[in-house]
Symmetry: C5
Subunit: 311 residues, 5 copies
């Protein structure tokens, strides 16, 4: 799903080109200034940037950890959405008893499965701040689309429709009471996953930590030349650029990882995961059709999504 | 829900202005004293503050981690309160069978939903040490308000009322035994979330860790000028202020994060989350009303809550 | 529940007074010896204590983490004991159907609730190595007290009595089979919490880690003056005391946190938590009585417990 | 299952021979260059590589942690597959009531158990990107093989067959409704484990972190000789090789651990675990046969798998 | 259960005596060589061992963490085995309805409880690589012993017998369907605990990490004298021994903790825990017997187990 292609250096560096340029200019000025005016007396002992470097390293490690955990939790949630979608479909098919092989029941199961696919797509879109439905939403009936569209939380409305269908099945005696409760539990798990995604989406990483790391980082960059210039002259310029771009890159990565639902090319691949759900649920509904065309079209879409995942 | 607006530097610095001023005065005095009286013999090798700096960094990293975990756990608990409120409502609606379409049942469900909204608001208020009810509590009937008001733990009393209603529904044969047990489980999860909030609220972060970090931090700040003055003179003053304010800011942040229910502008947004519950449950109860006015009013309230979240 | 009062420095320092005195004597002797006999040739480069300082910092961070986790887990377990006690009572009240409003059933529920309160108190006492019952145990009947007293694991015996009562209720047809199983699950969760407390109580933190940290810490303290004396003379004495007391305090804190059930003034507040359970369960049993006197008396007891919590 | 044999140094070093050779050449050139042309003025103070070394250490620690967690999570998932396979079989045998001791039921259970074994093998193969079935798949009937082969996700198709069989058993009244739901839950857990494996398989470790660590590592290696050559001459060459190979080895290990399903000799031992499942399930099905030959053959296969596990 | 007795230093040092002796010889040789032949030019700047020291500290911290986690997880698993054994017994007693007070049922429960005790003992023995049964296995009937002995996984076979007994109880109508399912769940939890122990037992800690830490550690020890000798002469010998034994001790501890089921005196106390299960289950079966003799004998056995636990 995610790519492993080599990321060109240019791409990486573009992310921090402004900061790196500033560092370049600053350290060059420092070196020039040092040669023109002899300012030995304000050279700073290297121990000071070393202390700062240790703090920043620890803070960046802390932040990378938390950002990674958010990103990985988002991935885990979508993984369990896949699992629960499959389980819901499997339970639907194995629980419903239909001695008359009626057409109604088959249509019912199919509509239920289609709605589950629509739920996955609309949850992904909602999290990215897009419209919950595409203009031509194929997986829902017209009534479902209109009814759900009236709610501010569309995926939650679709789960309510699931619950109503389960009640209908129970009242029509297609499923027994235990099966109803068990299906409801699977829907509850989907409801939990939905709420967890919203939590990650709506809770920003404590802003002041970000700010502080910024502050400490620039303090470090500003101080470093005072320690280096005296002994190194112009050689410090490439050194400064290399060291500070290293720190800046880590910071950028944490910023990208910590918000996994922002409709950036670096997101959690919610569309690709919803496509997996679509593929599996459709195969579970019609055993005999592999639909190679749709498959191919979809895999080309997936290709397009592979633009430099993560950062 | 949380803001992302730029936090003005002034705001940040106001939090540590006393400490920073003291550092400023102290390091200036040190520099003056050094120039007037030649006191080379008590300059401290820089390795000593370096060792201290490493310890403090590790301790602050440890503390930031624990404080962040408390804050994030509080957020997770309120996230699951949202999920379980939605599930409770969805289960109520899909479990209750009402062949006569009686008015009673509809009122019953509505009262249940209203009480769940009241529970979320009153839990938030109780955690912040406020009155459990607003003066005009709209979501409860008069009897409920009086009865619950007699208890010291109001949210727990409301859950007891939930349990009684579930029993009534069972005895009226609106739900079957399995559904009763399943509803009770959702109430139990709400009860667990409530208890977890109380645990975080009532357990202070081990006081001595806080004290110790304070102690080590000031020891570090006191020692640093002895290492710097000899080689740097007055240049050490801004350096001292910058380094120590960096450390002090991290400490402050941990202090703010570790107590997420203290009715400070930087809390877990319990009111905003309760409003989300209100919005979703009301839409689930009356499918056709989006009530844009209420929506707008509420979003303006939310605006007001956005005063510099976290720190 | 836990205090936030300022801990006097004297209290903190009393914990490490022996060690600090030894450091004071040792570093003074070193400084004197250095001045009398010129022993420059065995001064140690400061990099050596720096390396040691880094290791010790990491080890102390590791140990603080594990000790904190044990303490926090103990707190989480007692939090869930509160939740499950409330749920058990709520389930009892909402599950039992008693069409005749018989006195028997009311007494039954009351005895059950009282036993749950007794369970919480006796578990706390057992964990602290005290007698499971107070001399005048008010919450149990005489038979229950005698029967449970015959067992080596009293809280487990009380849970067996719970299970018997649940069976009686089932056989008297006060509850249906699903409700019996559901009540049993709540009892099972209480049984799990009990076992988790015993695990923390009975498992010591790996003794050799403690020993090793001690060893590395004293090695560090012994070596440090060799690095400092040459350049600093008597100034090193207060420095040595400050640095080593910092390290020693962290170690002490970890030692206190890692055993949360040792009947020290710094424990997990099991009595206070059991009092919360008592208060909530009693209110759930008799809706109309707030019993302000009992409340007041209890809050004064709580006051007494507030003697410098955690270290 | 996993080996503990001594890994020859040669094997380890072969993994990083290219990188080590480059370091060797580079540091030799640096030493030569330094002796021929006096270039004292661009020697870098050692504090610079020290700062870099600290950052890299922290980043490698972070990465090792995450890679280890992925590897350990994969192991945990396969551990729970073993547990759930055993539970599924045990439940099948103890739930099905068969008063007539009919041959049908025995065959039914056996087919179910065989399919579970086939599921474990095919999941392992699918994760490694191999064909889901061996050419001669012994554990499935011909129909099952054909039907499952039509699906893109073969293990999921086998779980659907499980669900159908459970439905058949329920409709034939071999199991009661509660047992059906309970069996379905075990199947749901297997479905979850399957999805978790796919998640780990399909989610690459954030590529930019890998890249950044690479970048920082080579920066460190390039800078180090500037600090060392001046004082050490050719002695720095072995030193450079030793230090950099240490860092490179850790990086390699993280790369190997982070992808536990890549059909390398260093994978999670999915085949060996599936063999354990096969052994236990077969013994559960036929109590009396220990089949020592099969056992021996299998253990020799296991021998072959022991080629230098992990890295 | 675990001891807290003072561990003699001799015991600790014996674990690393070979390594320490080698370090002693090596550093003495270095000091001699340095004095005889003047080799100033290959003294290494102390920054190099400092960098290495930082890396090793972080790696050892990482490894200690993982090893501790394995050890603690093993302890948690055995803790939940205690809990589930108690719950299983309690459920057996409170679920089975026996209106005739028949002898059969009492014997049935007793046999079930005895088998659970046997299961705990045999699981402990199997994990330590011992025979699953003692020669005189008192807790099983002869048939059970023979039947289980035919299986390669004896504890799993005992769980199958549990399942059969539960089926018998269900078919004899001593328990209802919900109770059967609930008992099966407790057995499933025991089966999970068993599988988790096997996972920890059968998965070695990634061998190359161990190797690498070894490599880095010896590199550090080899390099350190080059930095120290020049300035310190023979004083470096005790210093070298002290520092390197500190590192070596931590490594040893991690090695001991990471494999908690190896039949060393430092294991998870599986026998002591099984004895706790025996004590509690026997008391639950015969309320009136405290059997003080057996108690005393057992506590003396426990004494013997207390030989220097952990390391």
């Amino acid at each position: 799903m995610l790519l492993r292609k080599r990321i060109p250096w240019v791409y990486l560096m573009a992310k921090i080109k402004v900061e790196t340029s500033l560092v370049l200019i600053y350290s060059t000025l420092m070196a020039v200034w040092h040669r023109e005016l002899d300012i030995n007396h304000i050279s700073i002992p290297l121990a000071v940037p070393t202390i700062l470097g240790t703090i920043i390293s620890l803070l960046l490690a802390f932040r990378s950890n938390q950002a990674y955990d958010r990103w990985w939790e988002a991935r885990i949630i979508w993984g369990s959405i896949v699992n629960d979608s499959r389980s819901l479909m499997r339970q639907m098919q194995s629980f419903i008893s239909d001695p008359d092989y009626s057409v109604n029941v088959n249509r019912f199961i199919e509509r239920f499965g289609n709605r589950q696919i629509a739920w996955a797509y609309s949850l992904g879109r909602t999290l990215r701040g897009q419209q919950a439905f595409e203009e031509k939403e194929l997986w829902l009936t017209a009534e479902e689309r209109i009814w759900a569209g009236k709610h501010s939380n569309v995926p939650n409305a679709l789960l309510s429709l699931h619950a109503r269908d389960i009640r209908t099945a129970f009242q029509s005696e297609w499923i027994n009471p235990y099966q109803q409760v068990e299906l409801d539990r699977t829907v509850t798990r989907l409801c939990d996953s939905m709420g967890k995604c919203e939590r990650i989406k709506n809770t920003v990483f404590p802003t002041t930590y970000s700010l502080y790391i910024h502050f400490a980082l620039y303090l470090f960059i500003v101080l470093l030349p005072f320690g280096l210039t005296a002994s190194m002259g112009f050689v410090q310029v490439p050194l400064m650029v290399a060291i500070s771009s290293a720190f800046l890159l880590i910071e950028k990565m944490a910023i990208y990882l910590q918000d996994p639902f922002e409709n950036k090319p670096t997101d959690t691949p919610v569309t690709a995961i919803a496509q997996t759900i679509e593929r599996d649920l459709r195969q579970m509904m019609n055993d005999d059709t592999r639909t190679p065309q749709a498959e191919k079209q979809r895999s080309s879409e997936r290709e397009m999504e592979q633009v430099y995942y993560v950062l």
